[in-house]
C-alpha cells in the first residue's frame, strides 16, 4: 500500500510539464509519507481602498484551497521576513528560502463598484524564478470566491502539472428530519460547501442528482408521482421536466453521457431492473441489458465507448463493463463482499465504487480490468463516490448508525489520504461533482 502510494504521488508530481521546466519546486515524498509542500501567501495588495477586505479574503481562500488538498502546507504570516506588500516589488528570495517557503503566491486586487480584478504570480523560491506568467481574472465582487478558486487552481496546476478542481460545484441532496420522515431536496454548492442554494422543495423524495458534463443540467430521480421517475433540471432557471424514458415510468439511477446528449438509467418492469439508454435529442430508446437480475448504476467511460454498471446476476452485487451499445458484459470485481455504484474516473483509468463487506461499507477504486483494488474508507455506511474534475479526489456520503443517524458528505484523495468532511449545515447525501467552471 505504501509503495503504491509513493508511485502514485510521484506520478502526480513528476508528470506535469510545468515541473519539468521548473526544477526543484515539487512535492517531496519520503517512504510513502508525503511532506506537504510549504507555500506562502502574503495578503494580496489592495490597489484601492475598496479592495482591502476582498484582497484579504481572497488571499485566505487561496491558502485554504491549497492547504485543503493535503498536498500543501501554508507557512504562516507570522514567520515572514519580507512582507511583499506590493505586487510589483522584486521578490527577495533569500527571505522566503530562510523560512522554507518553496512556493510564493502574490496578488493584487482592484475593486470598482461590484467589479473587481485579481492579478497573481507564482514564484519558485528555491529556483529564484517565477513559475509561469502573471495571470489576471475579472469578475464581480459578489463572485470573489470563484476568483480565489481560480487563482488556487492556477497555482495547483502549475505546481502539480494537473488541472485543479477548486472552481467547481457539487449538486447533492440536502436532508432534514428523522430517519422515518426524512425530507430531501436538491441543492448545489461550491466544492468547499460555500454558496449553498436549494433547487427543489422537499415535497417529495428526490435521489441521486447527476450533473451534466457542462454543469448546466442535473438529472435526478423523483418520487413525486409515487413511482420513481427521471427528471432533468436546468440549473440556471431551475426549470424541470420529466425525461421520457422507455416505457415511461419507474426509471431511476440516471447518468449523462459525456456529450450530454444521452441518458443511461435503470428501468424496472415488474420485478426486473435493466439498463436502458435514451437519446435526449431524438427521443430514441434502446435496451442495453436483458437479464432477470438487477442491473443498475450505469456510468459511461470518458470516451463514451463503454459502460460500467452493477449487477447481481452472479448472486450478489458485482461490477461489470459492457459496450455502450450493450452486449455481453465482462465482470471486473472479484474480491470478497458486494460491489455497487461504480463511477468511471474522468481520466479513464479507474473505477470508484461502494463496497460492502463484513458489515462495513467502503469507498474504493480499482483499475478498469479489476486489478489493484484499493479501499480508501471504512464506516458503518459509506456510499456513492463522485470524482473531482481532475480525477484526484472522491466525494461521497457517510451515514452514521442508529436511530439518530444522519448523512453528511466527505472527501478523500484517491491515495486514501486527507479524508475530511465537507462543511455543510444539515444533512447531505448523493453528491455529484460538476466540471471545472469556465
Amino acid at each position: 500500500m505504501l509503495k503504491r502510494l509513493t508511485i502514485l504521488m510521484m506520478a502526480l508530481v513528476l508528470s506535469g510539464p510545468a515541473l519539468a521546466q521548473s526544477g526543484p519546486l515539487r512535492l517531496v515524498i519520503t517512504d510513502g509519507v508525503i511532506e506537504p509542500l510549504p507555500f506562502a501567501v502574503p495578503t494580496f495588495e489592495a490597489e484601492n481602498g475598496e479592495a482591502v477586505q476582498v484582497a484579504s479574503d481572497i488571499s485566505r481562500l487561496v491558502a485554504q484551497d491549497l492547504s485543503g488538498t493535503g498536498l500543501f502546507r501554508e507557512v504562516p504570516a507570522s514567520a515572514f521576513i519580507s512582507q511583499h506588500s506590493s505586487f510589483a516589488q522584486t521578490v527577495v528570495y533569500p527571505d522566503w528560502r530562510a523560512i522554507n517557503a518553496q512556493a510564493l503566491i502574490t496578488g493584487a486586487v482592484f475593486v470598482s463598484g461590484n467589479q473587481m480584478t485579481v492579478k497573481f504570480r507564482l514564484y519558485d523560491v528555491f529556483s529564484g524564478a517565477e513559475l509561469g506568467g502573471g495571470l489576471q481574472f475579472a469578475g464581480t465582487v459578489d463572485g470573489w470566491r470563484r476568483m480565489g478558486h481560480k487563482v488556487a487552481d492556477a497555482a495547483y496546476s502549475r505546481i502539480t502539472g494537473e488541472s485543479g478542481y477548486f472552481d467547481s460545484r457539487v449538486v447533492f441532496v440536502a436532508e432534514a428530519g428523522p430517519k422515518d420522515n426524512r425530507q430531501k431536496r436538491l441543492a448545489v454548492m461550491d466544492y468547499d460547501g460555500a454558496n449553498l442554494k436549494y433547487l427543489t422543495d422537499s415535497g417529495s423524495i428526490v435521489l441521486a442528482p447527476r450533473f451534466s458534463p457542462s454543469g448546466d443540467r442535473v438529472l435526478y430521480t423523483s418520487f413525486e408521482s409515487g413511482f420513481p421517475r427521471i427528471n432533468v433540471l436546468d440549473v440556471a432557471s431551475v426549470g424541470r421536466q420529466q425525461i421520457t424514458t422507455a416505457d415511461g415510468e419507474m426509471a431511476f439511477s440516471p447518468r449523462f453521457s459525456n456529450d450530454g446528449r444521452q441518458v443511461i438509467y435503470s428501468l424496472a418492469n415488474g420485478g426486473n431492473t435493466d439498463i436502458y439508454r435514451t437519446d435526449l435529442v431524438t427521443g430514441a430508446n434502446s435496451r442495453l441489458t436483458e437479464a432477470p437480475s438487477i442491473e443498475t448504476a450505469p456510468s459511461f467511460s470518458p470516451d463514451g465507448s463503454q459502460i460500467v454498471f452493477e449487477s447481481d446476476r452472479s448472486g450478489s452485487q458485482q461490477l461489470y463493463i459492457m459496450s455502450a451499445s450493450g452486449g455481453e458484459p465482462r465482470r471486473i470485481s472479484f474480491g470478497e463482499g458486494r460491489y455497487g455504484t461504480p463511477v468511471w474516473s474522468p481520466r479513464g483509468d479507474l473505477v470508484a465504487f461502494t463496497k460492502q463487506n463484513a458489515g462495513r461499507f467502503h469507498i474504493g477504486v480499482m483499475r478498469t480490468d479489476g486489478s489493484e483494488e484499493r479501499l480508501l474508507t471504512a464506516s458503518f455506511l459509506d456510499e456513492g463516490p463522485t470524482w473531482s474534475p481532475n480525477g484526484r479526489v472522491l466525494m461521497f456520503m457517510r451515514e452514521t448508525q442508529g436511530a439518530g443517524g444522519t448523512s453528511s458528505l466527505y472527501s478523500v484523495d484517491i491515495s486514501g489520504r486527507n479524508l475530511k468532511p465537507v462543511p455543510i449545515q444539515g444533512g447531505a447525501s448523493d453528491p455529484s461533482w460538476g466540471p471545472l467552471q469556465p
Binding site: A208, E224, P228, G270, T296, G340
Partner: protein, 189 residues
C-alpha cells in the same frame, strides 16, 4: 366500476379518476405510514398514483369491524409481508397473509391496490430500489396467482427511503424489509 387497465398502465389513471372526483387514496393506519408525501407531494400530477395527499388524509377507511373496509384489510388481514435479507422469496406466513389479501380483493372488486416494496438501510440506494421492486412484484405475482386481476394491481419501490423502524439492528431491519399492499378506491360510481 374500475378504470380500464390500459389507462392504468399508461399513467392516465389519476387523471381519469380525478375528473370523476371519485378518487380517494387510502393509506395505512399506522401513524408512521400516514405521511402526507407518501404518494408524492402536491406535485404536477404527471403520473398515475399521484393521489391527492389531502384526499388521502381525509380518507374514510371504514370501520374496523366492517370486513369490506380498507381498515379491516389493514388491521385484520394484514397489509404487509416481510422478507429475509436480500431476498424476495415469500415466507409461508407471508403467503397466508397474501391469500387473505387476495380473497379480500376478490370480494371487494371496487378497490385497486398499489404494492410498495421496501428494503432495510444495509445496501446501496439504487440496488435497494431494484430489490424493493422484486419484493413488490413477488407479492403481485402471488395475488395474481390467487385470481386477482393484474390490472387492479400496481407496484412501486421506495428502496431504503421509507423505513418505518429507525434503529440500526436486525430488530428494525426485519420490519423494514417489507412489501405493503396499499388499498385505494377505484371508483365510487
Amino acid at each position: 366500476m374500475l378504470m380500464s387497465s390500459q389507462k392504468s398502465r399508461n399513467g392516465n389513471l389519476r387523471m381519469n379518476m380525478l375528473t370523476k372526483a371519485a378518487l380517494i387514496g387510502l393509506v395505512l393506519t399506522t401513524a408512521a405510514c400516514t405521511r402526507p408525501d407518501r404518494f408524492g407531494g402536491a406535485g404536477d400530477g404527471a403520473g398515475a398514483g399521484a393521489f391527492d395527499p389531502n384526499a388521502a388524509a381525509n380518507a374514510n377507511l371504514g370501520g374496523a369491524n366492517d370486513p369490506t373496509s380498507p381498515l379491516f384489510f389493514n388491521q385484520t388481514i394484514g397489509d404487509r409481508v416481510l422478507f429475509a435479507v436480500d431476498t424476495s422469496t415469500l415466507t409461508e406466513q407471508g403467503k397466508q397473509i397474501l391469500t387473505g389479501q387476495a380473497r379480500w380483493l376478490l370480494a371487494n372488486a371496487d378497490y385497486l391496490a398499489i404494492i410498495e416494496g421496501h428494503a432495510d438501510e444495509v445496501g446501496t440506494r439504487e440496488y435497494n430500489i431494484g430489490l424493493g421492486f422484486r419484493r413488490a412484484n413477488a407479492v403481485r405475482e402471488f395475488l395474481v396467482s390467487q385470481g386477482v386481476p393484474s390490472d387492479r394491481l400496481r407496484v412501486t419501490s421506495y428502496g431504503k427511503e421509507r423505513p418505518i423502524e429507525i434503529c440500526s439492528d436486525e430488530s428494525c431491519y426485519a420490519k423494514n424489509r417489507r412489501a405493503v399492499t396499499v388499498i385505494s378506491i377505484a371508483s365510487l360510481s
